[in-house]
Amino acid sequence: MAYKYCTATNWGKNFFTHEERKQFHLSGHPGDVWVVGDNLYGDQWIGKVSGAIKTQAEAQAIVTGEIEAAQAAYDALSADEQALQTRPAIYNLP
């Protein structure tokens, strides 16, 4: 499946609708990065949310940076606190 990548801030209600979720792939990632199915409906959604188009590499760099920041925050916690939480792990965008 082909994807497009963009950044957009989730404003809440109707940022994405039930109907849109059935029309194209959509997944949210750290740094307000969205992976969007590359079809007409996906393009319309990017326009609706005023998404800023990114390359896959650019989107991955944003996601990785956000996760590294979250890892640093986790590593700064006490051992007791770390035992109650999960350390974020870096992953690759599709």
Partner: protein, 316 residues
């Protein structure tokens, strides 16, 4: 004169009964649906207690921020979250009970010191009041029911996870039959102390195991398709949803329970674990907050099952 086939490219079918795709779709999975975005929590957090009836009515209480446990309570009306009166005692990993945002129980949870607690607070729509304590400490477990008929089970990390189940009748807690598989961080749902589901969790080791409560004992039933912990659930023992969690990677997966088995349905948009969730059936639910690879979440997603409609056409 051109006929209709020429214009449209295919003939109109004359059917005397429902077309198969509609009927078959309902038979295959009556709960198929999708997640849409909802109003964001005012305060992003994970390990949040939850209650409510679904996408238009929910309550989130307690939870965790980088600064530690919270006593914040927020109420959802289908559009936005509103901060309401705080818990009396700061806690996270609370076992939340309640079928509406105007009546809920916050059972146990972690607030250090002393750590895990036997404290219970009741929400009446405007404030929290301490009521009868549980017999044992609780937190990170499963829960089901209402403020007059509730159930908490499993949870509480220690040397070994707990299988303990306690039943609430509106005035006191009674120890009842244990889970077959002791565990923490399980998903759960149920609308009374006589019918509930517990699924997934950490035993230790991430499990897909599902158990069903009939009011007196737990029975192992069909497993989740994807083993995970720190997930959330909505519904009852005959129609339910399991969503999110940690596989250990953050999960977007949603599964629907039809009373006998789990089926994968449409994913959440954002992977997260230790999220809140509420709903009384498999067709209307809410997911909110949680932790993610990028940090604490304030996002809300609303689940609504697909609406199947028949549009009859009369021909003569």
């Amino acid at each position: 004169m051109a006929n209709l086939k020429t214009f449209s490219g295919f003939p109109i079918q004359n059917l005397s009964s429902d077309p198969v795709p509609f009927a078959q779709a309902k038979i295959n999975n009556p709960y198929v649906g999708s997640w849409a975005s909802g109003g964001a929590l005012n305060t992003a957090r994970n390990q949040i207690g939850n209650a409510g009836s679904g996408a238009t009515n929910a309550l989130g209480f307690g939870g965790n921020l980088p600064g530690g446990e919270q006593k914040l309570t927020e109420s959802y009306n289908g559009t936005s979250w509103t901060e309401v009166a705080d818990l009396n005692v700061v806690r996270r990993l609370i076992d939340g009970i309640g079928a509406t945002n105007t009546a809920a129980l916050a059972v146990g949870g972690y607030g250090g010191p002393p750590g895990y607690q036997d404290l219970v607070e009741q929400w009446d729509g405007s404030s929290w009041t301490e009521i009868a304590e549980t017999n044992s400490v609780h937190g990170t477990g499963g829960s089901a029911g209402t403020t007059t008929s509730g159930l908490v089970f499993g949870g509480v990390p220690s040397v070994t996870p707990s299988a303990l189940t306690e039943s609430w009748n509106g005035s006191s807690w009674t120890e009842v039959g244990d889970l077959n598989d002791a565990r923490i961080h399980l998903g759960s749902c149920g609308t009374s102390n006589t019918a509930a589901l517990g699924f997934g969790g950490d035993t230790p080791g991430i499990t897909a195991n599902t158990e069903q409560w009939n009011g007196s004992s737990w029975t192992e039933v069909n497993n989740l398709n994807t083993a995970r912990q720190q997930l959330s659930g909505a519904g009852n023992s005959t129609e339910a949803l399991a969503f999110g969690g940690s596989e250990p990677a953050g999960s977007v997966k949603t599964e629907s329970w039809d009373g006998s088995s789990w089926s994968e349905v449409n994913d959440l948009s954002t992977a997260r674990w230790e999220l809140g969730g509420a709903g009384l059936n498999g067709t209307n639910a809410i997911a909110f907050g949680g932790d993610s690879p990028g940090g604490k979440q304030n996002a809300t997603e609303e689940w609504t099952a697909a609406v199947f409609t028949i549009n009859p056409v009369t021909t003569s």
